[in-house]
Amino acid sequence: MSREGAVRRRALAALVPLTVVFLLSAGAVLGSDRSPTRLALRLSWAAPTAARPFGSGDAGIDVLAVVSHATLSALGLAAVVSVFGFVVGTPLGTSAALRGGAVERFTLRAADLVQAFPTFLLALAVLSAVKQPTRVHLAGLFALSSWAPFARLSLVQARAIAGAPFVEAARALGATETRVVFDHVLPNVLAPVAVQLGTAAAGVVLGETALGFVGLGPADGVSLGVLLEQGTAGMIRAPHVLVAGAAAVIAVSASLQTASEGLRRWATREG
């Protein structure tokens, strides 16, 4: 078997956990008429049963329904935000690297600062204008900082490539600057930068969970963070809520990390 084939197989294998998480939650959402918001006071904090495999939470919500709907919506939010960051940040970083000088230094410093800045403070600053955030507000909030890692990575990558002999050769052969950027620099920047998508998505999922946990979650309460908060409040009576919430968060974040690690190995052709 060729080495290239083995590398591709391992990269595909790294996508398996994410696919399983996605299919399981999509199956639970589409395959049943469980509602994540319907209350059944009689079942408040009830332990898992055959009808409700993950048990019931506060006011008798179906924990399985919350976990599956919240996982799907977290994955959706993460996908939208990280693709947005990729689309905005990559051209930004690449052009800053090609421009060089003060523009490059400023972009790098701004990206560093935005990346390290506490999401929580940004969230309070922006969300203070609304009564209860919706998913659109949350997406806008995460989009504010999502470009930074992509810009930083593409800047470093483009700087290395801009000085490469094949780019110099293209210039010497009379290629226009636009052609150099689109035909020679960007294609070599995209693959290593796209690897960041998985890490960025995991960051969004955890950020959304943390905000939900501290009470800045979406108004309908369908969020892994809100479920964790509920599980914490009821941990003595009904530990199953906490366990289900924590397991879901860990599964989503670990599967995204595994996928991104697989992508990285594939992009760098590392076995």
Partner: protein, 322 residues
Amino acid sequence: MRSGSSGRLAGVLGATRSAGGPLLSAFVVLLVLASLVFFSLRILPGDPSTLVLGDGAREADRVALRARLGLDRPLAVQYAHFVVGLATLDLGDSLTRPGVPAFREVRRALGPTAELAGVAVLLGAVLGVALALLAVGPWFGQRREWIHRLLIALAATPLVAFAPIVTFVLAVRLRLVPLPGDPDSGPSGLLFASGLLAIPLAAQVGRIGRAALLEQAKQKFLDVAAAKGATPLRVWVIHALPVASGPIFVVVATQLGALLGGAVVLERLFERPGLGSLMLNAYAARDLPVLEAAVVASGGLFVLAQGAASVVTALLDPRGLP
């Protein structure tokens, strides 16, 4: 070659000169953050007085509140007033606790959060460096690869998921540690909460520290030290660790934002007083002066800590200075 002391002096001068950039960017960051808080409340659709008082409030109450917060004046005047208020640390009184200045509330909340975060940084750095040393040193033989895997697994485990579980097992089921929200829990409660907060930091410090130490292991001076009869402990701790400390400081600095987020989660989990609890309560009650003061103050602390870290890094390794 410069002598040691003048080299050190040049390092200090370079570090302060390079701190000019961070200082300027710190100022810009604070202004952007403060303006964001200010304008998101006043520009976005929705009446702040309705947000504070609720939909059912009487018009007279609303008018009174708008006058008290200055919302009836032109936006430019409000903004100028706000900036002056920030500069003089006076954003008016808390709405929920009349008569108490907003910044006094912030100062009171600062102590517990500083304790929590300070102990966590200390624990995280020490634990992380220890794990990094174990992961490169000869003490575990081939099994040191397991420490590396442990570091990766810990770095990927989200605090918001494991902190409630660990608390449930250790504090509620086994009763090995007190609940840190309990006023009687004292130092051991603080230690437990800081320990939880320190774990993600330790994982990051351990990963970066391991890479930095392995980079040093390629250098000849470690072989020289070993050939002169130094024990492995001495080689790694006395000779390799100081040279590798630059990246470790940098990683601690980049983790400060995450640390603040983690502190907020833990304060909520344990119902501990602190900056996070203050901000969340102010947000829930729409106590705008306190919210503005607390957000700007925490942003300032974050930027300050980042600047301090960059000065320390520059002192440790002046080579990168312009």
